[in-house]
Symmetry: C2
Subunit: 206 residues, 2 copies
Amino acid sequence: MPRIPRAVRPAYDVESLTDVAVAVFSTRGYDATRMEHIARAANISKSSLYHHVSNKEELLGRALSRAVGGLTAILSEPGAVEGSPAARLEYVLRRTVKAELQFLPEVSLLIRVRGNTAVERQALEERRRFQDRVADLVTEAQRAGEIDSGIDAGLFVRLVLGMSNSLVDWYRPDGTWSTRQIADAMIELVMKPTTSSVPANGRRAR
Amino acid sequence: MPRIPRAVRPAYDVESLTDVAVAVFSTRGYDATRMEHIARAANISKSSLYHHVSNKEELLGRALSRAVGGLTAILSEPGAVEGSPAARLEYVLRRTVKAELQFLPEVSLLIRVRGNTAVERQALEERRRFQDRVADLVTEAQRAGEIDSGIDAGLFVRLVLGMSNSLVDWYRPDGTWSTRQIADAMIELVMKPTTSSVPANGRRAR
């Protein structure tokens, strides 16, 4: 194969530089990453990099926006606003699995940020609003008698999103389990008790 | 209050130095931590620290052993070996929540290691064995018809332990939810469908 001359470089834009930055943050850790590491990974000069972005925090902000923006957008989709509360909740949880797998490295960064900077705090705040809105949906479904009301809605959401967030730790795109299988299993686990059938012993009334 | 003279220092041993190291790793990140940071946090000299441990990897190893050793020990407890498969599984999951809350910072380190060193690989291997043994328990409970067999046992375990592992991200010991409430909710979510009642539509036969 002919060598690609050094002069032929991919034409980067902010989006593709964010991709590079996410990969570098993931392997090196955000704190230990310097702009020159990102420039080197992109095979461009530091000044070219600074032509596109001001600092590494901007790149982190863009990565976090992908993750949390991807989640927030779900809540406006037709499946999240039409139908019974349980159907909307199921839709949101299935789409959450899909969105998290789509932005796996970005979600991994989001889960690890601790709110040390304004950019991080903004992402955490948006993530908290997403959780609150899912919790509202849980409360609605509980009031409608569609899912078990024995579990505090806030706790339900943290446990179920915890399940989904854990994908960043164990999901491998080697085909062991498809996105669909994972979403099915999660819904089966957390929604089946009362959406698929009324238990024979009338436990739902509790 | 009288000032405590500098000479009066806590008598450290390896266990209490591991506590200090875990705290420093958690705030500073393992990679960025140097032995002098740990010595400073413990208010002892670097040479005193080296009197107790050879390097920071040894301290990480001890921290990871607490987390994964705490989980592995559960499997030998009477509740994990006596009773029906579903009862044993429920016991193991409840104890897992409790053990993870007991060693929260250590579990947080365990979840984040990637197997870069022998110490990390050993911990990950032991964690994998724990997961496999819980998956065996799931398979047994499924074969006994005690829990839904519609979900692959390996996927079940990853999702449920993912739920439990997510505690490191959101659990705050401020009393919002007790250990018992969290374990109850988790068991309610993942084990209720078939342990508490046979659904009216006989779905279990699927």
